[in-house]
Amino acid sequence: MSAGDRKEERVSFDYHEPTTLREAIDLGARFGGDARFLAGGTDLMVQIHRGRLSPRHVVSLQRVPGLDAIEVDGTVTLGTRVTHRRVETTAGFQGALRALVEGAEVVGGHQVRNVATVGGNIVNASPAADVVVVLLALDTTLTCLGPSGERTQGLDSFATAPGVTALRPGELLTRVSFPRLASRSATAFLKAGRRRAMEISIVCVAARLTLDADVERCRDVRIALGAVAPIAMRARAAERYLESRPLTDETVREAGRIAAAECRPIGDVRASARYRALLVGTLVPRALNRCLERIRNPAS
């Protein structure tokens, strides 16, 4: 019997800095599974340090133009290299899209947010990823570019298991977009952790609520949950329950109970499954209530 988990401890790779998207794709195609794209590095570099990944080639995207734009024109489009810090500080996201800021600003500390990218976060496919959970509640679509061209896919089908996505060999996620919110809409994001910062969520919840024109009845809702299933998930049963129902203390609590029942948390070193379910039951109503307050008073 031998010592160790056979970690590849000798870190060594070639570094490439393509200056066009085409070049980046070609490098990805050339090196295939031996290569990793480097955006912010906050996941990739840590995984390399822990011996979980040992790529032979690292392809940095930092000189590839056109990957870090934020476009708001009805639809919102974020380039894959947009950092959490930029999401956090984009004035246009302070209104109905507030959850984006709330999700971005709780990730790591400033040092991490200054370099960690939205695209990297999505491709890393942690079920606890805060911004991913928000994007899930916004019906986000992803655009990927590969050797065989460009394609789109819904975020909600992109991650298939922790750390596993539908990204094809040589493909690069280039941008994400989500539709403009209808009027009488608001978003909210809540996170639970063992400390107030530098936390990987024990549970996080993002909600997008749209009310009918004149009454406080749910016209449309999205509830996304993080860290309570192998992938970030939509609480679809809770959403279906709420549709066309008035927003009251009882209905939001019931939505919470349904969401708690439909999530599939595990117990791990961060929290037990039971506590995670309890948190879903608490944070979903709170997120919905916050959306409600924000629709009532958009200045809040």
Binding site: S12, M45, S60, R85, G108, H110, Q111, V115, R196, A197
Partner: protein, 168 residues
């Protein structure tokens, strides 16, 4: 492993080094360039002792490849003030008793500087939040926060006071 030539701009000076592509900025700073003011600990972006400024933004040098940093202005603690002088933040940390073992301090000061550069009206919550990525085990953060807030006040009260004071 072949080493590649890198041209790094640190504290306004250009350093030409030969390093393997997988070397981090932290490692090159400390080992190749002898700039040991930037500290090493977790090497996983969890503790912040390796904080430097990259184009003015606070970042963890331990997860940045040196190769990624070519041509991008880097500031380390050594570059905060001219030799023999102290930046107002450094003086404030001394005056407010914000230093104990001191190992977290270079990273802490740079993170604070990045925050103050972007916030002309800092408050306690904002300062604490800005320093969330810098662990300190000795001070409980209280005097660090006070030191940072005092610099903002000083700068607001009299811009001339923001000029560098002579180090003891």
């Amino acid at each position: 492993m072949t080493r590649i030539p890198l041209s790094l701009i640190i504290n306004g000076q250009t350093f030409d080094v030969l390093a393997e592509p997988h070397r981090t900025l932290l490692d090159v700073l400390r080992t190749d360039l002898g700039l040991i003011g930037t500290k090493e600990n977790c090497l996983e972006a969890e503790c912040g002792v390796c904080t430097v400024l990259l184009e003015g933004a606070a970042v963890n040098a331990c997860i940045l490849l040196a190769a990624q940093c070519q041509g991008r202005a880097i500031v380390t603690i050594e570059g905060l003030a001219a030799p023999g002088q102290l930046h107002p933040l450094q003086q404030a940390f001394i005056d407010h008793g914000a230093v104990q073992c001191g190992y977290c301090i270079p990273g802490m000061i740079l993170a604070a500087k990045a925050y103050l550069d972007e916030n002309s009206e800092p408050d306690e919550n904002g300062v604490r939040e800005a320093l969330a990525g810098n662990l300190c085990r000795c001070t409980g953060y209280q005097r660090i926060v006070e030191a940072v807030l005092s610099v903002a006040r000083t700068v607001r009260a009299s811009p001339e006071a923001a000029s560098h004071r002579t180090a003891r």
